[in-house]
């Protein structure tokens, strides 16, 4: 059953005590993402509300040993390799004919053919969700056997080193997401009667404003922290949808359009735009884990990539943004442009982990201060 979320006037006090306990545990090296929530009263669900903050996220890429199955032709070339292929013949050239020409294409990508072969991920196995409710010829089957998986972005990025487990974009997107509060993604479930089975809950997306509670290993995160919701600068990141919990797994209805903060490096503050985004998360009192899936808006995707991960950075992992753009356009499978009929978005999936937090809304802060 769903009730409109009731905020906890005493949230700040609870959170403060939780932080104190969490910090104490962290200092003792006893904290971990699997620890019990650190708060008074036993349950992390208060007045039907429970919050989570994002601590891990990677684009879902199905990887086999040595990439032999999905990338039998090897990985794609990046900016350095492509540059050498075009201009490595020793002829005298100008910066306008070479580096600036490549940057021009970087910032104004097109679908016109290029002299490079793009290596799409092969096979029919991928992580993701069935976004369109159909089983089509281009769909994948998940590793646990579910058919109809829509994740054409995997075809694009599966053989780009940057996006794979050891890829730099994966590493740095994690690092900067954890480091900077403008990349803080918070979800809050309200109307929760039971975290195992509840047929009607409301899910809000917010940008948080606080640091994560990191454990002594530096890799784990402790439940029970506080996230103040950024309603001043972060209005554009607020979204809402409905969902249900079945056997501890939260699934939601799609959100038509949502912006999710997505920072890759210092001095930048970008986001991704998803269409038809939904959650599939195993939820508990300490955290949530699973998939965020939807159709990534292609223009926004490339804009995020270029404005937060420069050509130099893209070179680390053989990521050619103009080549990736072409592949995304070629494999786009959602949200056709009403005028041209051309698909503007591509199915995608993000593997995520959240840790439980107490969500502090501005009205709670006022009430707490008055008290």
């Amino acid at each position: 059953m769903n009730r409109e979320a009731t905020r906890q006037p005493g949230g700040a006090a609870i959170a403060r005590s939780a932080i104190g306990a969490a910090v104490a545990l962290a200092l003792l090296g006893a904290g971990s993402a699997g620890a019990a929530p650190l708060q008074e009263g036993g349950s992390a669900v208060r007045n039907g509300n429970i919050g989570y903050v994002l601590t891990h996220k990677v684009w879902s890429v199905y990887e086999t040993e040595g990439a032999k199955t999905e990338c039998p032709q090897g990985f794609n070339d990046g900016p350095r390799e492509q540059f050498k292929q075009m201009y490595g013949d020793g002829k005298k050239r100008s910066i306008v004919e070479t580096a600036l020409k490549r940057e021009g294409k970087q910032w104004h990508p097109s679908t016109t053919p290029e002299p490079f072969k793009f290596k799409e991920a092969q096979g029919n196995t991928s992580y993701g969700l069935n976004l369109d409710g159909k089983v089509g010829p281009n769909d994948f089957t998940s590793p646990d056997g579910e058919k109809g998986i829509d994740n054409q972005l995997y075809r694009v990025i599966g053989c780009i080193g940057n996006y794979r487990t050891m890829g730099t974009i994966n590493h740095f997107e994690q690092l900067f997401m954890r480091s900077y509060n403008d990349a803080r993604v918070v979800i809050e479930l309200s109307g929760v009667d039971d975290l195992v089975n509840d047929n009607d809950v409301t899910v809000h997306f917010y940008r948080g404003g606080d640091q994560l509670l990191q454990d002594a290993t530096g890799e784990g995160f402790i439940p029970g922290g506080t996230q103040n919701i950024d309603v001043r600068w972060g209005k554009q990141f607020i979204s809402q949808t409905k969902g249900k919990i079945v056997d501890g797994v939260l699934t939601t209805e799609p959100i038509d359009t949502i912006r999710i903060p997505w920072v890759s490096t210092f001095g930048t503050s970008a986001y991704h735009v998803f269409r038809g985004l939904r959650l599939n998360l195993k939820v508990s009192e300490t955290g949530a884990e699973g998939l965020i899936a939807g159709y990534a808006d292609i223009d926004a995707f490339i804009h995020q990539l270029n404005t937060s991960w420069s050509t130099h950075h893209q070179s680390y992992g053989q990521l050619s943004s103009p080549s990736e753009y072409r592949a995304m356009r070629r494999l786009a499978d959602g949200y056709p442009d009403p005028k041209t009929g051309e698909n503007t978005a591509i199915s995608s999936s993000v593997s995520v982990k959240f840790v439980q937090v107490f969500v502090q809304h501005p009205e709670d802060q006022v009430i707490t201060a008055k008290k």
Binding site: R93, T98, E103, G104, N181, W233, T311
Partner: protein
């Protein structure tokens, strides 16, 4: 082209949004000081060579200048991705000489060096762009001023171990157009910085040059605030107030000096005051250089001096990180940054620079596309601003260079520090800042950065150095 289609599609919405914003207030005094204000940063008198003077400037505060008033700069050695450029401290040698460089160095990854630089027929040598401050053959070191050797055997003044130069961009006394300590940011080239005497601040405090002024920080980098509720020479922040506001304590030996005074809170507990106002830090500030304390009514960040008001038609808009300066329609303003990849690291960010760098980024070399992705900000004929940093210049939009008098198609546009400012075609609504970080190295090396006035998430470091984070 996708970006162009997107921009065209947004134009209608943008115009509609603009109508709603026109009524917004012009820039407020929150970020700037009145042109009638006498606030300026005091400095410590230090020994200087004959002919060198100190000149007060709006953005940089007090700077060293020649007898003619030309601002002095240094070029500290700094690392780039694949090499380094600049003068090595205390080496006694100046590397900026009469060489006219013709090729790229490859210092900036991922592109290798050895490519021909643009417009070589117009390219100047390093010393033409940065004339050295020559020292007499019999010059003797004075204070932090020493002597460096030039490659041609001449002697040159050095300050703090770095050879000193003027800029060919500066024309009048107080011009600081060659470089800035306030407008830096990210992985630019190795830039020149104006130099000046140390600010007159107690050792417990420090000055942070920012785009809107010189902000006062404590020695840990946290912002310093004052309260409207305090009286001159007296703090009224007691009891509950002290839970959120921490007095900046002064040592027992602290004395009144210039604009600095000491308030005795209780017996033996002294607090610094500046211009008569007691100073505090904000207990809730999570990051250095914060402006969040100024959201509390009656509290404000403390600046030794602030820039003067920008054009009255401009607006301040809330964005996703804080606040930006915007045009009359609420569209975020952008500055363009550019340094080339030659060994002498010349800037390419002004209308007299080669425009191919900017054109590559904004339009894939097509000036028409540039005018859609990053259009100039038109100015009304005869428009002026309180701040001399803002001027109206005449631009040929097809070349990006300054227009000749009476040239058909020329535009009158707003410029900041004599460089045009832009809006971004991809911004739909007031406060959108989609054009931020657009260009090489996230817009720092050859690209566009939003004109941030306040950034609550990166310690007001956007538009500042990437390594200068707290």
């Amino acid at each position: 082209m996708r970006l162009r289609r997107m921009i065209r599609g947004l134009l209608g919405a943008t115009l509609l949004a603009g109508v709603a914003v026109v009524a917004q207030a012009a820039p407020q005094g929150e970020f700037w000081q009145s042109k009638d204000s006498t606030d300026k940063e005091a400095y410590l008198k230090v020994p200087m060579p004959p002919g060198v003077q100190v000149v007060d400037t709006e953005l940089e505060g007090p700077v060293f200048a020649t007898a003619e008033g030309k601002t002095l700069y240094t070029w500290p050695l700094s690392g780039l991705r694949s090499g380094q450029a600049g003068d090595r401290r205390n080496s006694g040698e100046a590397t900026c000489d009469d060489t006219v460089y013709t090729e790229t160095t490859g210092f900036m990854s991922p592109y290798p060096g050895g490519f021909t630089l643009p417009e070589l027929d117009k390219r100047k040598s390093c010393e033409q762009v940065w004339p050295p401050l020559l020292a007499p053959a019999d010059a003797k070191p004075v204070g932090k001023w020493t002597i460096a050797k030039r490659t041609n055997g001449q002697t040159q003044w050095a300050y703090d171990g770095y050879p000193v130069y003027t800029s060919d961009r500066d024309r009048e006394k107080g011009d600081v157009l060659g470089g800035s300590n306030a407008v830096v940011g990210g992985e630019r080239g190795v830039v020149r910085r104006p130099i000046g005497p140390p600010a007159d601040v107690p050792p417990e405090l420090a000055i942070q040059p920012m785009r809107t002024g010189h902000m006062l920080l404590d020695h840990k980098g946290y912002s310093v605030y004052s309260s409207d509720a305090d009286e001159p020479g007296k703090s009224n922040c007691v009891d509950k107030c002290l839970e959120d506001w921490i007095p900046v304590l002064a040592p027992q030996t602290a004395k009144v000096s210039g604009e600095w005074s000491v308030i005795e809170r209780t017996s033996g507990v002294k607090q610094w005051a500046y211009r008569g106002k007691a100073l505090y830090t904000h207990a809730q500030d999570q990051r250095g250089r914060s402006m969040e304390g100024s959201d509390v009514p009656g509290w404000r960040n403390v600046f030794t001096q602030r820039a003067l008001l920008p054009p009255a038609e401009f607006t301040v808009q809330d964005s996703h990180l804080g606040q930006v300066l915007a045009d009359a329609n609420g569209k975020t303003l952008y500055t363009y940054q550019c340094n080339d990849d030659a060994k002498d690291q010349q800037s390419c960010d002004s209308p007299d620079s080669p425009q191919v760098y900017r054109m590559a980024i904004c339009g894939n070399f097509d000036p028409k596309v540039c005018q859609e992705t990053f259009p100039y900000v038109p100015a009304k004929p005869g428009a002026t601003a309180d701040s001399p940093l803002w001027t109206v210049i005449s631009i040929d939009p097809n070349t990006g260079h300054l227009a000749e008098a009476g040239q058909p198609g020329a535009m009158q546009v707003w410029a900041y520090r004599e460089r045009p400012v832009y809006t971004h075609g991809g911004d739909k609504q007031p406060g959108d800042a989609e054009g931020d970080n657009f260009g090489e190295f996230n817009g720092a090396r050859n690209g566009f950065r939003a004109y941030w006035l306040r950034d609550d998430f990166h310690g007001n470091s956007l538009g500042r150095s990437a390594t200068d984070r707290r």
